[in-house]
Amino acid sequence: MHTRTLAQLSADLRARRVSATELTKHFLDRIARHDATLNAFITVTSEQALAAAAAADKRLGRGDATPLTGLPIAHKDIFCTAGVKTSCASKMLDNFVAPYDATIVERLQNAGVVMLGKTNMDEFAMGSSNETSFYGPVKNPWDHALVPGGSSGGSAAAVAARIAPAATGTDTGGSIRQPAALTGITGIKPTYGRVSRYGMIAFASSLDQAGVLTQTAEDAALLLEAMAGFDERDSTSLDDAVPNYSKLVNEPWERVTIGVPESFFDAGLEADNAKALRVALKELEKLGATLKPIELPHIHLSVPAYYVVAPAEASSNLSRFDGVRFGYRSAAKADDLLSFYMRNRGEGFGPEVKRRILTGAYVLSAGYFDAYYLQAQKVRKLVSDDFTRAFREVDFVAGPTTPAPAFGLGQKTGDPIQMYLNDIYTIGANLAGLPAMSLPCGVVRGLPVGLQLVAPPLHEAQLLKTGHYFQRVTDWHQRVPANYA
């Protein structure tokens, strides 16, 4: 049952082959069995899940169910959930119970989705390996000595190990796509503003976007269409109508042109990964896509631009964590405000978060603002313009999601730059606010790798459809790690 996709489970529920309660129990059992090893969850909400499943069963019985009613999923612990601990994997919020639901949590709940729990992640989504979590690293289900990627590592591991059929995630620089690639699942980051950020704890507000991690593109379409859409509580939410993704993915294939930046195949990409990617591109060609070499002349500047913009915004976004209204407060008694703030924040945040805050404070500080922050914004424009230019000629930009398959736990924690370079292919879409998806496209050294497709703004339907067609002719997305089959 656990290897079935959301779409299949939706059909099963409707045909009464399984009840929401049975389904929920099944996944709660799997979590209980496997999560001590994986550490994919920070909080498992068994009681609420069973109550929600019972309600979903009633709804299915009454006949007023949506296609999502009764489907269990997991939420990344960055989304606020009313009455449930919302930690952002930080000691700072270890005691934090959100008094409200994030918009996407609310929307999925209204559709009848059952929340299994809150997944582990990098602290405040800052990381590419899930090793910065206050709750310890998540293990890659393909090899427990490896990282699952990050920051949505718990969501990725949970879906890859089939202890949850799908999960939500957030992507600021690749945090959905990179772990999806490293765990062999599908992950999509929609256009900036397509999904409300309300209730999603901010990392870098101009880059953050919520999305999903699923087994298939078809499942992603199903979830995304319930999550996306205008939200008056988010000033940066787009009011464009949400297409019926799950219907559109099954419409007839149209000829597309896929741009392939040759610079993506340089020395930075592991050879076997490049080989797998070439094979995947051939599959797309066989489906009728035209491949076209293109150039993104400034894409190599994405990483440095990102590591100015993201920390700058983060340093400000994280100032609200001061131990006054919520969050960690040091046990040591502070006599003055300065030491009060410094202790609460110094003890509440982990080292990577502190580094980003300090980097952000530095690039925004007097005398450095123009050289760093403003210059990074200009480079961001150049990177964005590269995509705009490319999309005059092609429908998608294709490339690798990551430079290599999953790396070892602890392998890169000592060197932030090595860690940051993991996101070299994914960051461009965040800087430009574009929708992007990672699809499992091969195996390197027994480990999954991903194909990334980036599309013009609001072209999620086309992206998902291409993914769906690709997954009709490939089976990489059906592979399950041996221990979890």
Binding site: Y100, A312, E313, S316, F326, S365, F369
Partner: protein, 478 residues
């Protein structure tokens, strides 16, 4: 050595919106602590600001009234600093591109001259909460009800040269924001606050001296007092061979001194950058025209019209137009009465304002309506009562003794205009004041006034003074 004081003001006007600038919480003053602090105002994780459209329209309104340029595109920026009354650790403000900039106001000074004060900019931002210091075992309590209330920060150029000019400018802006109905102007409640940048230089110098920023100037009087004290401090310092330090100083009205603020000791590095949670504010011509259509007649225009249409002195027109509601009251009286506008002006500025102040009653709640005052003035005009008696009637009406007619009737205050009765009173006075009559006949004209007074006294003020005068002259054969 003569010194010149150079002053610029930063005025914070709380916008008169029902809800906060970025949240749906109420802005009502005086609520129980933290009952009007929403998740957005508290800076809760995950929540986002959404801009109140009326705040934008109010800023545009102010810009139009002060000849400012309205930016088609303006940007919210984050001003980053840590303080307990600032929940997010940053204030959403405007930095490089404010919504309004480059205007001016002309300020009338007591000596009749005018000071042209440039307005550098006016920008939208959010207010902070409040720290309460008393009685928490050495700790401070934070109330965030005020956090997130919309503010318009109005920054003047350093164009003022005395504490009086600064006070006059502040009053001018105060009157203006109330006319525009964009701020209730309540200084006690902190709806209208002011910081002053003060420096001194030797007369003739073109370079500005080092300035200090004065805080906590929450009344017109404090602004003037604080500036004078700070000016004296700076002059004394320089003349004693010292140097002014650029710093923020707190005005202490009890000790009549300014002193450096400890919380501002550290040089600030606010790390401003565009707020990524908010997009640029777009103001197009259509919006500007819609706002322009809502502009009331402004104080300057009204004052001009009052001097011309009602032949009032500049001073009278100024006093009457400071508060739009006072001006409206005055005009309602003028419209309804046969008395001259100058008479109406005297009564509004005198009896009415006096009674309002004495009883601490707002003009909207005046116990003597414009129609009532007009009726009262008509009684004087018709000779039914004297001006002096009218004051008594006003007082009685104010105290709730009934209508003008009822009070006159009940108290028997109708003026004595009967010639026979007046002649009789005059004859009695002449008989009783032989010595004064003698002096008058000897050519001492002033004595007539005394005799008139005696007649008025005998009539308990009710005799028509004009007729008394005539009757006296007649009987004395003058």
């Amino acid at each position: 050595m003569t010194w010149e004081t150079v002053i610029g003001l930063e005025i914070h006007a709380q916008l008169a919106t029902a809800s906060k600038i970025f949240s749906g919480a109420s802005t009502k003053y005086g609520a129980a602590p933290n009952t009007q602090a929403s998740l957005v105002d508290l800076g809760y994780p995950g929540v986002l600001p959404v801009l109140n459209g009326d705040a934008v329209r109010m800023a545009v309104k102010f810009g139009l009234a002060t000849h400012c340029k309205i930016a088609q595109r303006s940007i919210f920026a984050r001003k980053n600093y840590f303080y307990p009354d600032l929940p997010k650790g940053y204030q959403i403000s405007q930095y490089e591109l404010p919504i309004v900039h480059g205007g001016h106001v002309d300020v009338q000074l007591p000596d009749g001259s005018t000071r042209h004060v440039n307005i550098v900019r006016a920008h939208l931002e959010e207010d902070a909460g409040k720290s309460l210091h008393e009685d928490f075992a050495g700790m401070s309590g934070i109330d965030l009800n005020r956090a997130g209330t919309g503010l318009l920060e109005i920054v003047s150029a350093p164009d003022m040269r005395s504490a009086q000019e600064a006070g006059a400018y502040m009053r001018k802006i105060h009157a203006l924001v109330r006319y525009l109905e964009i701020c209730d102007g309540n200084l006690q409640e902190g709806s209208f606050r002011c910081d002053a940048n003060v420096s001194v230089r030797r007369v003739g110098d073109t370079k500005l001296g080092t300035r200090t920023e004065l805080k906590n100037l929450n009344s017109f009087r404090f602004v003037e007092k604080a500036i004078e004290i700070e000016r004296d401090r700076q002059i004394e310092l320089i003349e004693g061979g010292g140097k002014v330090t650029q710093e923020t100083r707190l005005f202490d009205p009890d000790r009549e001194e300014t002193r450096p603020m400890r919380s501002k000791e550290e040089a600030n590095d606010y790390r401003y950058f565009p707020d990524p949670d908010l997009l640029p504010i777009a103001v197009d011509d259509a919006l500007i025209e819609r706002v322009r259509a809502t502009l009331p007649e402004l104080p300057d225009a009204k004052r001009e019209r009052f001097t011309n249409a009602y032949s009032l002195s500049a001073y009278d027109a100024d006093v009457l137009t400071v508060d739009k509601r006072l001006a409206d009251y005055f005009e309602a009286v003028v419209k309804a009465t046969k008395a001259a506008p100058k008479i109406a002006a005297n009564w509004v500025m005198g009896e009415l304002t006096g009674a309002l102040n004495r009883t601490n009653v707002d003009i909207d709640a005046s116990r003597v309506s414009a129609a009532t005052l007009a009726a009262l003035l008509d009684k004087i005009e018709a000779g039914t009562i004297s001006g002096k008696i009218a004051k008594e009637v006003f007082e009685a009406v104010w105290n709730g003794e009934g209508s003008v007619d009822a009070v006159i009737e009940k108290r028997g205050l109708v003026q004595i205009s009967d010639t026979g009765a007046i002649d009789k009173l005059v004859a009695e006075v002449i008989a009783a004041n032989a010595a004064q009559v003698e002096q008058f006949r000897a050519g001492k004209q002033q004595v007539l006034g005394f005799l008139v007074g005696q007649v008025m006294k005998m009539s308990k003020g009710k005799a028509n003074p004009q007729q008394v005068n005539e009757a006296l002259r007649k009987q004395l054969g003058a």
